[in-house]
């Protein structure tokens, strides 16, 4: 066919990371993480200890689950769900109340998942019915939720000695018990998102809303499904949170937001939607959870860590921008 020789890849740009294919960014991220670990280990050999491993993996657990929830929203074109802190505390409060009532673990988990899903559904319903920007809606619902939670309670914690209290303090195979659900979630979600029909449609909606609609994919349905699922994952995170965090107040989850967003960006999830590999959240969350620990080993005063957190977000955004410019 006359066409064949002329329409070819000449105008196109090749793969971004030659030789590594799609796994290039993942390997780069893992490499940066390993360099950080190696450098700190050289400076302070006692960094490479089981204690450090526990400290880092505990920190990863809650952020990791929230990052999956956040990434699902971003990939499907919802940009960001800023209502995660309120959703987490709300689900956490339900979990605590169920624990106080002496309910067994499965009931606590179901209660948390259902509460989180309901929170996500409320957000999605407002977004879909009012046709509003998800960022604005979730910013507002987070604010409202926080204010309402302050009216509901001041401090809450799961009772000492209950199964969930133990769950937040024990280790399993040398790692925190609360770490395993996070790792499993990243694995499973990362596998299913690009390989299922619903997942691919969610990605399509994020990549090009008009195109998805023109191909018969329903935007409202996708949005409601994603926000509800994402909310349920926030509920899961709340189980890990109340299990491990002890007494908390309505504002106690706010500090997670920045880390979660930075993790999502650093993992290469496009905030514009349509692109993102959930598996990369593992090195991304791991890297960002390791940094504060290394700072302590390098002897930086604790107030510096807050400053550093801000820098990390800037770094993540800059890294993403660099990647986007290099991308075809």
């Amino acid at each position: 066919m006359a066409l064949a020789p002329t329409i070819d890849g000449k105008d196109a740009v090749g793969p971004r990371w030659p030789g590594l294919g799609a796994w290039g960014p993942a390997l780069a991220l893992v490499a940066v993480w390993l360099v950080l670990i190696a450098a700190t280990g050289l400076y302070r050999p006692d960094f490479l200890s089981h204690q450090t491993l526990l400290a880092v993996t505990f920190t990863m657990s809650i952020v990791g689950v929230l990052a999956v929830a956040q990434a699902l929203v971003a990939i499907s074109g919802g940009f960001l769900d800023l209502s995660q802190p309120s959703g987490l505390i709300l689900s956490g409060l339900v979990t605590v109340r169920l624990a106080e009532a002496g309910m067994p673990m499965p009931v606590l988990i179901l209660g948390a998942l259902a509460t989180g899903a309901a929170w996500g559904l409320v957000n999605a319903t407002i977004i879909v019915l009012a046709k509003l920007n998800p960022v604005i809606v979730t910013l507002a619902t987070n604010f409202i939720g926080l204010a309402a939670l302050f009216l509901l309670f001041q401090l809450a914690q799961v009772p000492r000695g209950t199964a969930i209290h133990e769950f937040g303090r024990t280790s399993l195979l040398g790692l925190p018990a609360i770490w395993w659900p996070m790792a499993a979630l990243i694995l499973v979600a990362g596998f299913f998102l690009p390989r299922t029909r619903v997942g691919r449609r969610a990605i399509a909606v994020g990549g090009n809303r008009q195109a998805a609609r023109a191909r018969g994919i329903s935007l409202p349905r996708t949005r409601i499904a994603i926000f509800t699922l994402s909310g349920a994952l926030v509920g899961l995170a709340s189980v890990l949170f109340v299990a491990s965090s002890g007494p908390f107040n309505p504002g106690s989850a706010n500090f997670l937001q920045l880390n979660v967003i930075a993790s999502v960006i650093l993992a290469g999830v496009s905030l514009a939607g349509g692109r993102g590999n959930l598996w990369l959240l593992f090195p991304s969350v791991g890297f960002l959870s390791t940094i504060p620990t290394t700072l302590v080993f390098f002897g930086l005063a604790s107030d510096w860590q807050l400053i550093f957190q801000g820098f990390i977000l800037v770094f993540a955004v800059a890294f993403d921008g660099y990647r986007a410019r290099r991308a075809p």
Binding site: L3, R215, P328
Partner: protein, 325 residues
């Protein structure tokens, strides 16, 4: 040979009542495209090889139209976008739709593709009236539209775009239950339809945004071809392309006849249209005013019809009749 090649024609399209009294006769339905179910590009090779340009339609004029729009009208508030548009598309015909800005082309096109609901008039595919409630209804009736924006997801690969919204689930019951898709099948079929169009796509693992404009246009056409069992609508397919790529895309459009579909092309470029179309319908001020066989007309006549320098064939009261040449 037709009957042998299209065994499933009868039991699908003899169902349902005759619509609107058009001269539908069972005997002439054999020309219809056979691909009702999930497309199998292999079947393309079983269809009539018709490489002659411009004369394919002549054979078909005796037959019932694949698509027939009658007295379609649309108003937006006080503004009448479409007064009265009627149009018939023959099997394996490339039919140009031209008109000045504001003539109603794009409204008409949106109605045909189900994006906009008409206030009045009917649209029939193979003699069956279609109730268009949305793009899905048009797609279900075998009408695929390639818009100017192409409706491609830039971050996805070629085959993923081809199967966008119609992802094939795995045949393995467990995987199917898990909602897992069959990538190998989709990749293979997409590759087949792309190669049947002679479109070279860099790699299945490269996102669409890294492709050239021509490649993207051809990909969108290939997708329409795979899913548009009877009708493909192309909206300004070359508007965004350079000279070289335009020629490539035009070649692909000419080739579409081989694939047993009928094509509606909306374009501003008269020369291009005359080089690919069998017939051209002219719209002016919200009405379809004339249809000409490309072989029997010249560009100046079409331009005259567009501008109003030459009056249309039909009186306003008579626009109901399909303007067959």
């Amino acid at each position: 040979m037709f009957a042998a090649a299209h065994p499933s024609v009868h039991h699908r399209f003899n169902e349902g009542p005759f619509i609107r009294g058009t001269h539908v006769d069972k005997s002439v339905k054999f020309g219809l495209h056979p691909k009702y179910e999930s497309p199998d590009p292999n079947m393309d090779h079983m269809t009539v090889q018709d490489t002659c340009r411009g004369n394919g339609a002549a054979l078909q004029t005796e037959m019932s139209p694949v698509l027939e729009a009658s007295h379609v009208a649309k108003r937006y508030g006080a503004v009448v976008a479409l007064h009265d548009a009627s149009f018939s598309l023959q099997h394996k015909e490339v039919h140009g739709l031209v008109g000045d800005n504001g003539a109603g082309k794009s409204t008409f096109l949106k109605i045909l593709s189900g994006v906009v609901a008409a206030d009045a008039g009917t649209i029939a595919v193979d003699g069956q009236t279609i109730h268009m409630r949305g793009p899905q209804d048009a797609m279900d009736a075998g009408i695929e539209t390639v818009y100017q924006d192409l409706a491609l997801v830039d971050t996805m690969t070629a085959y993923q775009n081809v199967y966008l919204g119609r992802e094939e689930l795995s045949r393995n019951p467990v995987k199917r239950w898990l909602n897992l898709v069959d990538d190998r099948l989709m990749r293979r079929r997409a590759a087949e339809v792309l190669s049947s169009l002679a479109v070279r796509i860099p790699s299945d693992n490269v996102p669409v945004k890294s492709m050239s404009g021509g490649q993207r246009q051809c990909l969108a056409i290939a997708r329409a071809l795979l899913w548009g069992r009877r009708i493909v609508i192309l909206d300004e397919p070359t508007a965004a392309l350079g000279v070289r790529e335009t020629e490539q895309v035009l070649e692909v459009i000419r080739d579409l006849r081989k694939h047993d579909v009928s094509v509606i092309v909306v374009s501003h470029n008269m020369q291009q249209l005359m080089s690919i179309a069998d017939r051209v319908t002219v719209m002016r001020l919200g009405r379809t005013i004339a249809t000409r066989s490309v072989r029997e007309t010249e560009i100046p006549e079409i331009v005259g019809l567009i501008t109003g320098a030459i009056p249309g064939d039909l009186r306003e009261e008579r626009t109901a009749e399909p303007a067959t040449p």
